[in-house]
Structure formats: C-alpha cells, structure tokens
Symmetry: C2
Subunit: 211 residues, 2 copies
Amino acid sequence: MFSSLTEEDLAIMNRNRFVVNYKPGELIYKQGSSFTHVISLSTGKVKMYIEGSRDIIIKIAKPVELIIGPGIYIDQKHYNSASALEEVNACFIEVGDFKEVFRRNPRFAEEVTREISSKGLSTLQKMMSLNLKQTPGLVAEALIHLADDVFGTMRYKMILSRQELADLCGVTKESVIRVLKDFKHEGIIKSEGHYIEILDYNMIKKISQLG
Amino acid sequence: MFSSLTEEDLAIMNRNRFVVNYKPGELIYKQGSSFTHVISLSTGKVKMYIEGSRDIIIKIAKPVELIIGPGIYIDQKHYNSASALEEVNACFIEVGDFKEVFRRNPRFAEEVTREISSKGLSTLQKMMSLNLKQTPGLVAEALIHLADDVFGTMRYKMILSRQELADLCGVTKESVIRVLKDFKHEGIIKSEGHYIEILDYNMIKKISQLG
DNA sequence: CAATTATGTTGATTTAAATCAATAAGTTTG
DNA sequence: CAAACTTATTGATTTAAATCAACATAATTG
C-alpha cells in the first residue's frame, strides 16, 4: 500500500511503535478523543462508527489496513470510534513519527493523502446511500459490503448483532429483520445459525443499485 | 491559507495558470469528469453539489476559496459538480504544477492534506445531518450556513431557487416551503422579495441542533 | 439447570415526509 | 403587453419506515 517507504522511513516509524491486543467488544479509540497514533490493523475485524443521536457504522475494517482519519492534519482528534468485533492485534505508530516521514518522503505524502482521501470518499459514498436508498437497498448494500470487502466469500459468519447490522444500514433493527426475512423468502439469501449466505448475488446487487 | 508557499512555488503554479469567467447558472466542472485543475475562486458564489438519483448541494463556496476534491490523489476525477450562482471569476492551476509544489514543499503538502481533509469532513458532517435531522432542523441548518458561512449577515438575498434550497436541505421543495412558512409565522425569519432575514438566531440555532 | 438477562422477531400503530394535483405568482419573450 | 412558460405555493393523499408493544429465542450466570 505504501510502496515508497525506505528503510530509514520505516526505522523512524518503528521508533515508538507498539502492539496492543483487544478482546471482542473492546473500544480501540473513541470519537472526540485525541488522535495520537496511526493504527495498523494486524488481525481481527474492527467496527468503525460515528456516534450521533444514533450510531452509524461506516465500515468494517479488516487486516491489514491502516486506520487513519481526517483529524490527523486538522485538529488531531478522532472523528469516529473504533471497536473490536473479534480478537484484534493492532500496531500503534506515533503521529509525530508518521508526520516526520510524511515530510521526509514526498511520495509517501502523496500516498497518505490518497489514503485519507480514499477513506473519506468511501464514507461519503456510504452516507450518500443512506440518504438516497430505501431499506431493502441499504440492507442489500450492507450484505454485499460484508461479502465482498470484509469476508471475501458469499457465506460468512454474521459477527454483527441485529442492532449493529441496523447501524450499518442506517435503519432500525426491526426494519433490517423484516427485510432479511423478505430476502430469505425470495430465496436471495439463506441463513442457518449465525451464518448468512448470499444465494443470488445478481439479484442482491440489483436491489442495492436500484435502492 | 497556504502560508508556506515560496516565490518559487508560486512561480511554478503560475506557469500555466489562467482565469475563466462564468455567467450565472453555468457549469464550472461536472462530476465524473477529469480533474485537471485546482481552482481558486476569485469572485462569485459557486454551488457545489453531488448528482445522484437527486442532487444534493454539499455547500455554497465563496471567494477566496480553493476548490479541490479527494479525486486529485485518487483517480483524477471530480466527485461533485460545481456551477456558478452569480458571475464568477476563477483561476485555474494545472494539477501537475500543483502536485509539483506539493512534492517540493512538505509544509505545503501538509496544508493541502489538511484542506482536503477539512473539506471532506465538512461534507461528511453535512451528510450526517441529512441522515439524523428532520426537515425543520435541516432547513434551519441551511439558513445558518448561508448566514454564517456564505454571506456573513443575518439578512441576505436568497440566490437559490426553492428547488436548490431543497437540494441543500436534502428534502423536497414542498417540504422546504412549508417549513419556511412555519418559521415565518413563528417570527423566526422574515422574507421580503428575494431577501431572507433571520430574526431569532438563537431559536433557529436551537432548531438546527435539536434536529 | 433453572433463572435472569439480553437479543431477536412479529404485528399493530403512528408519523414524517414524499408524492400527487391544482392553483398562483413571477419571468420571459414574441 | 399579452401569451407562454417557469417557479412557487397550498392542500389532499399515499407511503415507507419508525415507534410501540408483546412475545420468543438464545445466552449467561448463580
């Protein structure tokens, strides 16, 4: 992802680096708190969410991903919260060290800017969906995000509670449940135990796109 | 805004710089098109909007503001459209020249990253509002944006049509009209001709915050 | 393993806002 | 300046989804 890093650059970022282990459900950082470290997610999936009058899950981050937000060059605050969905190992790099490399290495600076932009854009596009699509489209979109981006398979263990799935869709848990039921009856998805399987990918894609 | 620029930096950006004049209503650039220039808005207000199944106005840009989006370091595409609300003069800087300075001057790079992050964050926060607030709160928020950020006065000429105001609030024009009527009856705002005046700023702020 | 608590499901009701439809007020132009 | 057209306003109706309330299932714990 950051192909431009030299040995020296890496040495700088390793100076104060440390690793932390989180248990499922534990908070990694909280919206509004000080943005002191860039986090490289080594193992385990992470719930990235914005807290407002209700929570909105913007994405499920998976290894190996750099967790960095717009606050790093604004006011050094976090603009979302992150919590572990599974056992997580995360590598913390001091913002000061990170910024030092940013200044040393212009190509890295470009890559970082692209990374921040790219994450911001994905979040924005998610929020656009929440505004434009209705419930079935939103649930379809969430199920596709999980299949394509998070698990990489059509069948996966639903590690989110119904409430969390609702937060990912930006609707109430009752609405999600009803739509899932419909999808099941229409043979688009299957669910057994905690597993969900997308049976008709084309159909669910279509529902997601039509909104 | 970009205090770090040296004479040499400016010379690079001036190499291919040119100015364009737009009449009210004219399109400055279109979502999806190639992001070839960073734009410095010299005079006139600009409507920044995202086109989807319906338009959403993300903000009204005013002079002197740098118009730059996340696409510059992703795929060199525009992720929104911009059109002139008034007569506009805009200064075009080639993306190549801009990026050259970004690489030359690390402090400028930081400032640019902050600028892109900051714009992205504002847009995101607007979209969050659209999701969480209901119509009166959204209309209040839009009126405040115009008063505080765009015009800097409590009384201003409403240069947006009702449809555009609706697009700024993320609701239908009928809904906007009804809420404006309510605000008027409650003595929160006044309108004569094309002018709007906020009479009770505290109240409208409260409505905006409560949602 | 029974009891308690949390999570999930279903149906009934309410509600906010969109849509639909008709009319009014402004603008533009031949 | 009247006709044609666009934009704004108002009221009636529909609709999607939230809320509310009851119950079921699963998970946890003494």
